[in-house]
């Protein structure tokens, strides 16, 4: 139990230190946006039958759990399987506790206990499922050009999850919300795609290096999202402005992610250092018109990136 409490304390301290580094103002903006979007999303979820929403919670939690990178570490610090499961359960429960409390306050006990049950189920199976490296045969996506290698490698790493994601996009004919979630998921994944710095030798610098990179990725990602976007435009013509805004958000994210990567690019560190700032700027896009602020910030980062690359390579 001591270890569990030490780990939980650490998790809270991590949040505190991260916010302290990023800045409290940005955190407050982030909190408001999360509350706004989260509550609206929750209301939509509550309109569904209880079993559907519980299943949805289970899928979301399982997805989060599967992408955890600390599982091997955790299994090395816990001596028994049961204490490991107990810790993961407490952590998952803490994550969804505000939702459970809120549900109990509005006397929606079925949903509240359903989510608690979902956390338990996910935790029980959590140690058994981790990102596997059980293959020497690398999955290859040859049709993605090598000049967009970040995207290609990320897709190859995700494998079937990436495929499932793109199939999910087609379901935007069902509801415009599906398309919104689909695009936003893409937006929030992009900083991770462009987080890792390539080695110095992999950079073939030419004038306007960052701009060329942005344009190349815009074309490729544009092709990737074309089908679901067309489906969204055709099936929900009355929401064309919303669809257009989402596409604008996506393209802004591409500019921001690539610019940020190269603005902080160094061969000393293997990853971009300030992805939290990028994440908060993306959250801003969820506010009406917020994408414009993000775009201005992205443009500022773009100039910084070109300058940084000129300094390193020109």
């Amino acid at each position: 139990m001591q270890k569990i409490s030490a780990l939980l304390k650490l998790r809270f301290r991590q949040i505190y230190r991260m916010v302290d580094r990023v800045g409290w103002l940005l955190f407050i903006i982030f909190l408001f946006v999360v509350l706004g979007v989260g509550l609206q999303f929750l209301q939509t979820l509550l309109k569904l039958p209880a079993y559907t929403s519980i299943l949805f919670s289970f899928v979301v939690l399982a997805f989060i759990d599967f992408s955890r990178e600390d599982k091997v570490f955790l299994s090395s610090v816990f001596q028994s399987y049961s204490s490991l499961v107990r810790y993961i359960w407490i952590e998952n429960l803490t994550l969804v506790l505000p939702v459970i409390i809120y549900q109990c306050m509005i006397k929606n006990f079925i949903f509240g206990s359903g989510i608690a049950l979902a956390t338990l189920l996910v935790s029980l199976f959590s140690p058994m499922f981790r990102k596997s490296e059980l293959t020497h045969a690398k999955r290859s996506i040859p049709w993605l050009p090598m000049h967009t290698f970040e995207l290609r490698f990320f897709g190859e790493k995700l494998g079937f999850i990436a495929l499932g994601y793109f199939v999910f996009g087609i379901f935007s004919f069902w509801h415009i919300g599906v398309y919104a979630i689909w695009i936003l998921l893409f937006c929030f994944t992009l900083p991770e795609v462009f987080k890792w710095n390539e080695s110095r030798e992999m950079v073939h610098w030419l004038p306007n290096f960052v701009m060329n990179k942005v344009i190349n990725n815009l074309f490729v990602i544009g092709k990737l999202v074309l089908m679901p976007t067309l489906v969204a435009f055709i099936f929900h013509p009355d929401m064309w402005y919303f669809t257009a805004y989402l596409i604008f958000c996506l393209f802004t994210t591409i500019l921001l992610s690539i610019s940020f990567k190269y603005a902080t690019f160094t061969t000393v560190f293997e990853a971009s250092i300030a992805s939290n700032v990028v994440f908060l700027m993306l959250m801003l896009m969820l506010l009406p018109g917020g994408a414009l602020i993000t775009l201005i910030y992205a443009i500022f980062q773009y100039f910084k990136a070109e300058k940084n690359m000129n300094l390193l390579y020109a």
Partner: protein, 223 residues
């Protein structure tokens, strides 16, 4: 004794181990060497249950091995972001004795425990992970390239710690620098391919090192 019998493992069609047999006695240090990609890390991952055993038997003192018998230092240890060195040691230790031990080791290796691990260098990260892992009082210790990125002085300190705290435990370590293994090991297993493993005892180390030099010289003599 840690006993591996008829171990089989493959990545798809690529066979890594084909009926591998190895034994690691208690109170001994065994070095594992071999070319890149021959399967040293894979073996460690099978032992620690990161990879599922595809065939064969792994036992410790006659009992089937379980992950809680093993302390494992991977090549790239995991650290939570925004975590201090002291917090890492607190989490890794299972009891106060282990915690005290790890703190003693950390002070020997000059680790700034109040700093965030994010700000540590590669070598410092390796050292703190080593300290945390080695202080655990589990009967089997597996160290995958513990000297990677570590400075010369700390290299010696790590060798000293491994050498003097291996009593009643099975210590297995891998390294690509032969001297770091021969200095402290009681035996070396040289993995050559999926089937061939040669064993060298302490009195054969010098001959083995010479063979390696001659082999390399011959290989490059054509140039």
């Amino acid at each position: 004794m840690l006993d591996i019998k008829n171990l089989q493992f493959a990545f798809g069609q690529k066979v890594i181990y084909d009926h591998l047999n190895l034994t690691f006695p208690i109170s001994s240090i065994t070095g594992l060497i071999g070319k890149n990609g021959v399967g040293k890390t894979t073996l460690f991952r099978i032992l620690t249950n990161i990879y599922r055993n595809q065939g064969g038997e792994i036992t410790f003192n006659g009992e089937k091995i379980t992950p809680n018998m093993i302390s494992f230092l991977p090549t790239d240890p995991f650290f939570y972001p925004y975590m201090k060195g002291s917090e890492y040691l607190d989490i890794a230790a299972c009891n106060p004795t282990e915690l005290i031990q790890s703190r003693v080791f950390a002070s020997q290796l000059d680790l700034p425990l109040d700093d965030l691990i994010d700000n540590y260098s590669t070598g410092m990260k390796k050292k703190i992970a080593f300290v945390a892992i080695f202080a655990q009082s589990r009967p089997i210790v597996i160290l995958d390239e513990p000297y990677n990125g570590v400075d010369l002085e700390s290299n010696e300190a790590i060798k000293y710690i491994i050498h003097h705290f291996a009593k009643d435990r099975v210590v297995v370590l891998s390294s690509h620098i032969l001297s770091t293994i021969t200095d402290i090991s009681d035996r070396i297993y040289h993995i050559q391919d999926s089937k061939t493993v040669t064993r060298h005892s302490k009195d054969q180390f010098d001959a083995f090192a010479n063979d390696m030099k001659i082999h390399t010289k011959d290989k490059f003599s054509e140039f």
